[in-house]
């Protein structure tokens, strides 16, 4: 592993992984406690349309994907706020329309030769320098915004009615929050690909939730878990020549089942004591 650090692509991969982990910890925590996993999946898949647009029109990947996923996310949020109980159908439709748009646009892109798989399953080992800067910049903005709005987000996540009563602009903050989720997704697609985004965004916070006394502790804990999963996955992928995104997710899944098994074991032990 140490000699691998001499390669620029490996250093980039580690930096990308660490920043993605920070986002998983902070934004993923809000996704999990607000039960927004489906919406997040919808945004992630719809953002494929943005990838299509980026290639078809020849604009930078980050710009195209970011604007398209933001647009899709805002549409979804408007529906969620308007009719909560029909929102899942609509999210499902945008999810599919986004992907279909991406596929058709890539069909029509002249001289298209990009490896589609790298966006579906990530390519942390092939993140170009330019994208590293995008990732760092966006991560810093995302995490800073989430911290800036921490108390408001905490309040609307826990009891939005009470927050509204206390004069918090719940709808505005909700839109901002979903915006932060879309930015996070676009960054993490680079690491594990759009199909696996949901797993990386939700597994670390889900494990952390059980042991955390407060949301801030949950964020710190899930960031550390995400770093652990990312770096372990990266190391395994490098050593055994595996697809890095999938390896990272499998490591995270192993952590997930390990924590579930441990809980079951501890629970059994507790009930065994009379």
């Amino acid at each position: 592993m140490i000699e691998a650090l001499h390669f620029e692509f490996m250093r980039n991969a580690i930096i990308a992984g660490c920043f993605a982990s920070l986002i998983c910890g902070v934004i993923g925590t809000f996704v999990v406690v607000n039960r927004l996993v489906f919406l997040t999946g919808g945004i992630a898949h719809a953002s494929y349309g943005g990838i299509g647009i980026a290639f078809f029109f020849g604009i930078p990947y980050m710009l195209g994907t970011l604007s398209f996923s933001l647009l899709a996310a805002m549409l979804m949020t408007a529906v969620v706020l308007k009719s909560k109980y029909r929102a899942d159908t609509f999210i499902g439709i945008i999810w599919a329309v986004g992907m279909a748009t991406g596929i058709v646009l890539l069909d029509k892109t002249p001289g298209y030769n990009v490896n589609l798989m790298s966006y579906l399953f990530g390519s942390i080992l092939a993140v170009p320098n330019e994208d590293i800067w995008w990732m760092i910049g966006l991560s810093v903005i995302t995490v800073f915004s989430a911290c800036f709005l921490y108390r408001d987000l905490l309040a609307i996540s826990y009891d939005d009615e009470f927050a509204r009563l206390r004069g918090v602009s719940v709808n505005l903050i909700y839109f901002l929050f979903i915006g932060l989720i879309s930015v996070s997704i676009v960054i993490i697609i680079r690491v594990v690909g759009l199909i696996l985004v949901i797993a990386l965004l939700t597994i670390p916070p889900y494990i952390a939730e059980k042991y955390a006394r407060s949301l801030a502790i949950m964020m710190a804990l899930s960031t550390m878990l995400a770093i652990l999963f990312n770096l372990t996955g990266l190391w395994l992928a490098y050593t055994f020549n595996l697809t890095s995104g999938a390896t990272i997710i499998l490591v995270a899944a192993a952590g997930f089942f390990l924590s579930m098994g441990m809980d079951a074991f501890l629970k059994k032990k507790q009930t065994d004591i009379p």
Binding site: S157, Y158, E209, A212, S214, L215
Partner: protein
């Protein structure tokens, strides 16, 4: 005599065309302890949400402390029904109570005053020793006390509680009502409850809510009131409501 703190006149409200409250009028005086009783679906929660400004009336007028509810939202305390809140949320008791101090200055964050007020509210409810605990580690009664502390952290003049005792055993109920009675010395209290038996020894007024509102000054809950409130006296007796809340059976009417 001061002006009533809550004035409701000709209030009507409906959800998707089906009326929940129609032509409701009543006044609540300062430092009253009002119980809202009535059947489920009778509009008690809707009435509370209208009074605190979370819902807007279709018709009629609501004045709280002389102004419209959303103008005074900062001066009232609200304790929602426990079951509407996500139980497994990882949040500490202190963070819940601090919500009562919203909105914060986003640049400077929590001030010393915010923390001090939250702590004082917790002390008032005898819950300060549990402030670092996660909320779902607490019992139903303790959780309810935390929600009341959150409402108190706003330093409200009126306290609205929606079924605060639904998750508490009977001993905890009287204890909670005792605490509310104590708070009643300085605050007006409006509480939705089904505990007609316990309530009658604490409240100063009773409002029977069932599409319309019958407001009674005085603590006694009579059989007649329950009948007009619930429109189904037989069912109440079948639910085992003890007779001893009534002064004597013969004198009730």
């Amino acid at each position: 005599m001061n002006e009533p703190v809550i004035q409701v006149a000709g209030l009507s409200f409906s959800y998707n065309g089906s009326p929940v409250l129609s032509d409701v009028s009543f006044d609540v005086n300062e430092k009253e302890f009002v119980a809202l009783i009535g059947p489920n679906g009778g509009g008690k929660t809707t009435l509370i949400k209208l009074l605190i400004g979370l819902l807007k009336p279709r018709q009629g007028r609501i004045r709280v402390m002389g102004r419209s509810p959303d103008q005074v939202a900062g001066q009232i305390g609200y304790v929602p029904q426990d079951l509407n809140i996500n139980r497994s949320f990882p949040i500490s008791v202190m963070d819940v109570v601090l919500m009562g101090r919203l909105p914060f200055n986003r640049w400077t964050g929590l001030s010393k005053k915010d923390t001090a007020s939250a702590l004082a509210a917790l002390e008032c409810m005898n819950m300060d020793h549990l402030r670092q605990r996660r909320i779902d580690d607490l019992s139903g009664g303790q959780r309810e006390r935390v929600f009341i502390a959150r409402a108190l952290a706003t330093d409200p003049q009126i306290l609205f509680l929606d079924e605060p005792t639904s998750n508490i055993d009977s001993h905890g109920r009287s204890e909670l009502y005792g605490t509310l009675k104590e708070l009643n010395k300085t605050k007006t209290i409006v509480v939705v409850s089904h505990d007609t038996m316990v309530l009658s020894s604490y409240v100063t007024a009773v409002a029977c809510v069932n599409k319309d509102v019958h407001y009674h000054n005085g603590a006694e809950i009579t059989e007649e009131m329950l009948e007009t409130g619930y429109h189904c006296p037989v069912e109440i007796i079948a639910h085992g409501l003890p007779h001893r809340i009534l002064k004597t059976h013969g004198n009730a009417s």
